[in-house]
Symmetry: C2
Subunit: 157 residues, 2 copies
DNA sequence: TTTTAAATAGAAATGATTTCTATTTAAAAC
DNA sequence: GTTTTAAATAGAAATCATTTCTATTTAAAA
């Protein structure tokens, strides 16, 4: 196998700790879902993750996938993608600090944007609107360098 | 009636022009949908708009509402709200220039944010990632001044 | 080991949204 | 003002991602 896969053991140990600290049981399926997302740079749909899990486990229900993805994303271990087609997508982002993403509409690649206008936004909302900011969505859609080079990456997902 | 409703005739004339310029037929239902959204400062679901339309028209299909809302939003006459519950919501925003919104999670009020980090974001994406920005989503969720005053507006929609 | 609360499988339900087809209607052409 | 025709609509039905439900299994605490 040419893909230099990160050691499962190391990951499992690392995530066991995280899961334990969040009062989530360390189940093989939970670790497998994390494993899939960690070794994939694209965002995936629950269905796609299910397909891969079925190869590993045989018996696995789609609701299990949905439930786990939701739990992991609620606890900020993985992130949700806000997609125009209104399906759910998830991906794992190792960057633990607050940031946003550049999402390629052609190849699904996700990259970090180390820029957040949150402070300015909060200031504006406080000063002009007298409101209180609870959360914000910022997502930038476009075409990544690879897709631009290849063939002006025109194909939408 | 105490609500100072904008003259329907004036609105109809104004939007007739817009609709015509977009090659959309000027139908009573299309105008009524615009009328509802214009006279409402909150974002509404297709279902809610349907309920109001039924009072005016009696016979009206829900698919008609969906179709029209989608067409109008595609043509940037109305805006979509990206909601965590993944239902569609729409509202009319008279501000025709590029801007973003502060969305109250309690009362559904929408207010303009005259701040956009688009330029900086585009610069960052171009310089660091070599990608091309096609679109972006920026939405700030929180509690508006009224809800904060009333009772610390805790009730989610 | 035993216990127990969390996690899972699988079937079934849900419900927002879309599709389909026949009918109606706005507005262009006459 | 009629006729024409392409767009818009009604209503029923389908779709399909997501959620719920219940019985069973399992991780991990006792």
């Amino acid at each position: 196998m040419s893909t230099p896969k990160i050691q499962n053991n190391a990951i499992d140990t690392k995530f066991s700790k995280i899961l334990r600290s969040l009062n989530l049981k360390i189940t093989p399926k939970r670790l497998a879902i994390l494993d899939i997302l960690i070794n994939e740079s694209l965002y995936l749909s629950p269905e796609e993750i299910w397909q891969r899990m079925k190869k590993q486990f045989g018996r696995i229900g789609l609701p299990t996938i949905y439930r786990n993805l939701e739990e992991l994303s609620e606890r900020n271990i993985i992130s949700k993608v806000t997609h125009p087609n209104r399906q759910l997508y998830y991906y794992f982002c190792p960057n633990r600090s607050h940031h946003h993403h550049f999402v390629c509409l052609s190849c699904r690649n996700v990259e970090d944007i180390n820029f957040c206008a949150f402070d300015e936004l909060q200031k504006e909302v406080k000063r002009k609107l007298n409101g209180k900011v609870i959360s914000h969505i910022l997502q930038v859609n476009g075409y990544c360098r690879n897709c631009l080079n290849k063939k002006e990456g025109k194909n939408e997902i």
